[in-house]
Amino acid sequence: MFSCYIVTFCSPRIRKTSSMAGMELLSDQGFRIDGRKPKELRRIQCRLGVFNQADGSAYIEQGNTKVLAAVYGPHETAGGRGKALHDRVLVNCQYSMATFSTGERKRRPRGDRKSKEMTMHLQQTFNAAIMTSLYPRSQIDIYVEVLQSDGGNYCASVNAATLALIDAGIPMKDYVCACSASFVKDCPMVDINFLEESSGGPELIVATLPKSSQIVFLEMNSRLHEDNLSKVLDVAVKGTKDVYQVLDNAVRDHISEVSAFHKLDQS
């Protein structure tokens, strides 16, 4: 009965992965499918100010997950005054995935249930981090475009959007850093990739304000014993702090580069 369930409800891509029976999520030597240790993040590379026309933009690669984010605003609310909030800024998000970003081609880049949900999640996350009361009756747009997806789309999107907001100079309480974690063979694993995500194990996604360790977003899929929750959560929160270090370095590098140009310009 169980195997029948898997065959009828899994997408072909997942079927292919489950047929790779020889692959273990965590080998006896303690290595994961892509050769990482359980508590090792994927390589993060990022850049701020990718585009000229947007007020802020950023690009991030977390392993094979590649995300572009652009920020416009604060500006007048689009579509008349009706939508404007009298006491704070309206944070408007859009999450879309390039049709070629996944293993199997997507028919639509946005508008499906998953991306609508992701849009809402991003909106919630950034409403909690942006100093919204500074810009009443205005709007800030955050547009996220996933160019290549290999798991952790939400995390990469949040991290990219944070960088883009910083590039746009929008006041925030803190960086928002997101990280995922799973639990395999009594061992918590951080920053899981697509194969690990689709293996059916538990998946915990968390976004924090790293300096104060406040959690602004928390989501958990599949089943996990209550006793293990704190272990997995700890690993994920530690992951967000590591991500913070990388992002912060990138921001500082970018600022010093830009200000050096600025000095050259003035002299």
Binding site: C46, R47, Q53, N64, K66, A98, E145, L147
Partner: protein, 290 residues
């Protein structure tokens, strides 16, 4: 089209400059802006390319999938264009805002490629009338800096050049047809794109016409002519766009320019692509990180 706001005085400045063959960024009327091309940027595709033409940024991914051929052409593969105007380019594109422009671009590309000589689709046929390769060419518009059509067509050609299609072996036994896909990443077929067209857009500004109009110039332009031009100078598609009108003699003039510029564009594009392929794995991948 994404608009910039220009006053009458600014428009006059641009128009007078073009009369004297000098444009506001120092180019002549038949010059393109600086273009950067990089292929093989998205690994989840069969082929991909990123083109940056001044501020215009376009990412193209080609995915090859097995599918059914169209009923009219049972012995040919299919080429499907899809354009997505990302809201990253401008907030106007949010939701369904960019769909009109996207449709316009994908229709123009479909028309330009709908010419039997420009791409050998017969090679994409697997089993006549039943199975063929469908190439989904997905164009992602990331930033608008004018002349989207030309940039998109250049990116499409580059991505098709980069496309690898796995080798298929078809075996028949007792009425059963087996299709076997090769697992070997080096056992692939490449497409011959030498005669694939590039779109050249000619914008009529004042009494002269220019190629590769910037956003400011597009704001001054009332009528433009778009043409798909191949390496040999063959015109595969032609379309007049815009609110203004053109008289037949200027259409002829513009077509002459278009053919000349198109040939040069195709030639230099192929040179760049060959050069990049020669570098092979040695080239450092930069993508958006540069």
């Amino acid at each position: 089209m994404v608009d910039v706001l220009l006053s009458d005085a600014e428009k006059t400045f641009i128009i007078h400059g073009i009369q004297d063959n000098l444009r506001d960024d120092g180019r002549g009327c038949e010059d393109y802006r600086h273009m950067e091309i990089e292929t093989d940027v998205v690994s989840s595709t069969s082929g991909s390319a990123k083109v940056r033409l001044a501020n215009t940024e376009i990412l193209v991914g080609v995915k090859a999938e097995l599918g059914e051929p169209s009923s009219g052409k049972p012995d040919k593969g299919r080429l499907e264009f899809f354009v997505d105007c990302s809201a990253n380019a401008t907030p106007e594109f949010e939701g369904r805002g960019g769909e009109d422009l996207a449709l316009e671009i994908s229709n123009m590309l479909t028309r330009a490629y709908d010419c039997p000589k420009c791409l050998d689709l017969g090679k994409l046929c697997v089993i006549k009338g039943q199975q063929c390769w469908v190439l989904y060419v997905d164009i992602l518009l990331l930033e608008c800096g004018g002349n989207l059509f030309d940039a998109a067509s250049v990116a499409v050609k580059a991505a098709l050049y980069n496309t690898c299609i796995p080798t298929v072996t078809v075996s028949q036994d007792e009425g059963h047809v087996d299709i076997e896909l090769s697992d070997d990443p080096f056992d692939v077929q490449h497409l011959d794109v030498t005669s694939a067209p590039c779109i050249v857009t000619l914008s009529k500004i004042g009494h002269s016409h220019v190629v590769d109009a910037s956003q400011k110039e597009e704001a001054c332009c009332l009528a433009r002519l778009m043409m798909g031009v191949t390496e040999k100078g063959t015109v595969t598609a032609l379309k007049k766009e815009g609110s203004g009108s053109l008289d037949p003699s200027s259409v002829e003039e513009m077509m002459e320019t278009g053919k000349r510029v198109g040939q040069a564009l195709n030639k230099s594009l192929m040179e760049v692509l060959c050069l990049e392929e020669q570098k092979g794995k040695k080239k450092e991948k930069t993508g958006f990180l540069r």
